[in-house]
């Protein structure tokens, strides 16, 4: 088999000075599924963005099918036969499937879209590759798995021979992942080459023929998948041993410290996003909430932390009602919150580390007098946390934007865990951070639990839920549809049908 894509000495420096690729050379064989794995910030997504023309490299050459090519923008990439399916789909939600598929290459009759022909093309391509799609439905009415399929078809319809998938499974349930993998195997049979970016090692070994491990902007190794184990890859990615074991529950019987009773929420569009959600959180436990994103998790967390007002229902902290209190009042009662989107809520990027650390405590006596901030104390406190939480930064006075994603998350976690919390509401606490930082965050949450805190863990990552939780709630369409105790041997496969709304507790008998 020949080489379809060959990268030579690619160097990429971002405007903020971060070097994402330090002279990367990589050959991709024709007709294989080639996985690129690495921690976040290892440079794998950047490398692929360069191949697809979304970023321009400072140095290096790209050869495609033996020919040296210049890729200045995605248009060049598509012209050459390179397609990419992004982590966040690039689809127009209000257009139909076929309109999305043929955007920019529409068959026309005069100045109008030739609808009949468009549907015909869509049907043909989707038949050829065995990828059925409801071609006349709007994208916004499709589940995530199907949207992704539309993205793949979009690349195929433009004659992509090399298909790049950036973390394609991060938004899918186990069942949907299974379907995606079958699709990829079929595409391989049809002669396509696939680059598969992921940090889920189990999946990588299941689907890939070749695996390239990247670390710190460089390639560590490229090997055949059958010659590697999960452990080996993890070791290569991080450079040290990592534990994937389930963290056993704490056997201490805790008391109920947080109770939500019949929380409902109707949003601005008059849609009932939460329907009578009730839950109890005990000390010494981690209560996991899993579900496909967008099923009301965000709203629930915001209501619990005072950022949003519930339409109805009550929340109690021990015996005291805290429904609709202000965020500071809730924080004063020792509730911590690791937010879902760290860049939106968790930090002010352009502010310094110090300013980011003190946002929940600057007004307290240790950090300010009547009017003035105590700068020395703030600096010392921040430096203590930098050391304790292993945050990589040149100074406590640097802006948070100069840190990597994993380190920014550590800033958030450091702040939220250092306030001696009784309740920790952790929403996607390890999203988009590297395996090493992930392990650190998990251990910190475990330690907090063992010290008697109750943790409400919301995550779209099933492995994370299964690794940490004492009990698991499944949310679908704004309802808690099932509660599991996280017994030894529970797998994502059993949670999947509930997450997709195919099963409900009461129907289960």
């Amino acid at each position: 088999m020949g080489t379809i894509l060959s990268l030579k000495d690619i160097v990429k420096v971002y405007p903020n000075g971060v070097i994402a690729n330090k002279g990367v050379s990589l050959d991709i064989e024709d007709g294989v599924i080639h996985a690129i794995v690495g921690e976040n910030g290892a440079g794998k997504t950047t490398l692929m963005k360069i191949v697809f023309g979304l970023e321009e490299a400072q140095e290096g050459e790209i050869y495609f099918k033996g020919k040296k090519i210049k890729i200045k923008n995605p248009y060049d990439a598509i012209k050459n036969g390179i397609g990419m399916v992004h982590q966040h789909f690039m689809l127009a939600p209000d257009l139909t499937v076929y309109e999305n598929l043929l955007l920019g290459i529409e068959p026309k009759r005069g100045i109008f879209l030739n609808t009949k022909k468009a549907i015909e093309i869509t049907k043909k391509v989707s038949n050829d590759y065995g990828l059925p799609v409801p071609y006349d439905k709007k994208i916004k009415d499709l589940p995530i798995g199907l949207r992704q399929r539309v993205e793949i078809l979009k690349a195929l319809i433009r004659n992509a021979e090399l298909l790049i998938l950036d973390e394609p499974t991060s938004v899918l349930t186990p069942q949907e992942t299974e379907v995606l993998f079958n699709t990829l195997r079929n595409l391989k049979k049809a002669g396509k080459t696939i680059i598969f970016i992921s940090h889920k090692l189990k999946e990588v070994l299941e689907i890939a023929d070749k695996v390239t491990v990247m670390r710190d902007g460089k390639i560590v190794v490229t090997k055949n998948a059958e010659d590697l184990t999960e452990h080996e890859i993890a070791y290569l990615m991080v450079g040290r041993e990592i534990s994937f074991e389930r963290i056993p529950p704490n056997n201490k019987e805790g008391e109920v410290i947080l109770e939500a009773k019949n929380i409902s929420f109707v949003n601005e569009d008059n849609i009932k996003v939460l329907k009578d959600v009730s839950l109890k959180l005990k000390s010494y436990e981690i209560l996991g909430l899993c579900g496909v994103e967008g099923n009301g998790q965000t709203e629930l967390v915001e209501i619990l932390t005072g950022l949003r007002k519930a339409s109805s229902g009550k929340i109690f902290l021990k015996d005291k009602e805290i429904t609709n209190l202000l965020p500071r009042e809730i924080r004063e009662k020792k509730v911590s919150h690791i937010p879902e989107d760290r860049m939106k809520n968790g930090v002010a990027e352009r502010a310094t580390l110090e300013e980011n650390i003190i946002v929940d405590r600057y007004y307290k006596n240790s950090f300010s007098g009547r009017l003035l901030l105590k700068e020395k104390e703030i600096e010392n406190h921040t430096n203590e946390l930098i050391k304790k939480f292993n945050i990589v930064t040149l100074s406590s006075k640097n802006p948070v934007s100069s840190l990597s994603g994993g380190n920014i998350q550590k800033v958030v976690v450091a702040r939220e865990l250092s306030s001696d919390p009784l309740i920790i509401i952790a929403d996607q606490p390890t999203r988009g951070i590297d395996v090493g930082s992930e392990e650190l965050v998990h251990n910190l949450l475990k330690d907090a639990r063992d010290n008697g805190a109750g943790i409400f863990l919301v995550s779209a990552d099933l492995d994370e839920i299964l690794k940490l939780s004492t009990r698991i709630l499944v949310i679908y369409n704004g309802e808690i549809v099932k509660e599991f105790t996280n017994y030894e041997g529970l797998t994502g496969k059993e949670l999947g049908p509930y997450m997709l709304g195919l099963k409900k507790e009461n129907e289960d008998g």
Binding site: P327, R328, N345, I358, S368
Partner: protein
């Protein structure tokens, strides 16, 4: 070298913008002037031709600085307002009215008038603040409209209630001497209000960067979601930033009345509020930088006056100069490629060091 360029990039960028501005203006002067050497000299050094002109720079800079501060505080909270002009005008009108109709010893009269002016300005800032916080109205539109309300309301107050009928112009009665900021440098009109400005620059600096309130204002501006999540009462901060800004704008107007004109003699708004927006942008909302930017603006304005008086170059040349500089400074992309290249070079150098060390 590269390291210093990165560290002082914004300063270097500003200097380059100014140099480009000067260069273009020199070109224009050479084209239009019969005696370009004279034109050039007065353009660059006009204010240094006499003590009184140098004084003019300081006198003019003072209200611009105050308006810059008045704008910068809400800007720091990400409240993009242009209300200083109106707040300055209405406060000066009301406080002049108060000043001419009351009698106190100087030591009481001056602070009282300042408080009235500041208070009126604060109220003027409170309105767009509360509208924004409660109903999310656009503060830019509200403050822009309120500037007109301020203009005509003030003219009504002065022309119908406090007009000095003995004067030949539409002006208010003169303030009693107990309400004057005395001028203390001979041949200039530099008055004690200028000292007040210096004090306010320092106070605003402390407010923004050293106090709890300043921290809350800045965090609200940098990321309001983060501020809310952290427990900051952003509703209060939005209103308060506008109120404090209005207070300072109020001082800006009355200080000029008390120190220079001694009566309300404006029939149109003086434009300091707009200059305030300009210097707040050039000075990136930092009080100290705003002071420098204001002095710079005042300097070239005085140059313009000198040019007008002594040469055949029209004073509008300084408007061109100002525009070029503001354009270049506010254009994010200006020199960004250069910075990017240096960043790349620095990053690669750092990398080589790490490599050879390991």
């Amino acid at each position: 070298m590269d390291k210093y360029v990165l560290k002082y990039f914004n300063l270097i960028r500003t200097i380059i913008a100014i140099l480009i501005g000067i260069f273009i203006c020199i070109l224009i002067i050479f084209i239009i002037s019969k005696d370009p050497q004279d034109g050039l000299r007065y353009f660059l050094l006009g204010p240094f031709t006499s003590v009184s002109r140098l004084g003019n720079v300081i006198e003019m800079a003072s209200p611009i600085i105050l308006c810059g501060l008045a704008i910068a505080i809400p800007f720091q909270a990400e409240q993009f307002n242009v209300g200083a002009e109106g707040a300055l005008f209405i406060s000066a009108a009301v406080a002049t009215g108060f000043g001419v109709s009351t009698a106190f010893p100087k030591i009481i009269h001056i602070p009282l008038i300042l408080l009235v002016a500041g208070g009126v300005g604060a109220i003027w800032g409170f309105i767009p603040g509360i509208l924004k916080a409660k109903w999310n109205t656009n503060e830019l539109v509200v403050t822009l409209m309120m500037n007109y309300v301020a203009l005509f309301l003030s003219l009504y107050i002065i022309n119908f209630h406090f007009r000095d009928k003995k004067a030949n112009f539409l002006v208010s009665y003169q303030l009693p001497k107990t309400a004057w900021f005395d001028q203390f440098i001979e041949n200039t009109r530099i008055h004690y209000g200028v000292l007040l400005t210096v004090v306010l620059v320092i106070l605003v600096y402390i407010l923004l960067y050293k106090t709890k309130l300043g921290y809350e204002i800045r965090m609200t501006g940098l990321n309001i979601n983060f501020a809310k999540y952290g427990g900051i009462n952003t509703f209060k901060i939005i209103v308060l930033s506008q109120v404090i800004g209005g207070f300072i704008a109020g001082i800006a107007g009355i200080s000029e009345v008390m120190g220079i004109h001694r009566r309300f003699n404006w029939q149109a708004t003086p434009g300091y509020g707009w200059d305030g927006v300009t210097v707040a942008i050039i000075g990136r909302n930092h009080p100290i930088l705003i002071a420098f930017a204001s002095i710079f603006i005042a300097y070239i304005r005085v140059s313009g006056q000198v040019l007008n008086l002594l040469t055949d170059v029209p004073s509008e040349i300084v408007t061109i100069f100002e525009s070029i500089i503001i354009l270049l400074i506010t254009a994010e992309a200006f020199l960004s490629q250069w910075k990017y290249k240096i960043t790349v070079r620095e990053a690669e150098k750092r990398e080589v060091k790490v490599e050879s060390a390991s």
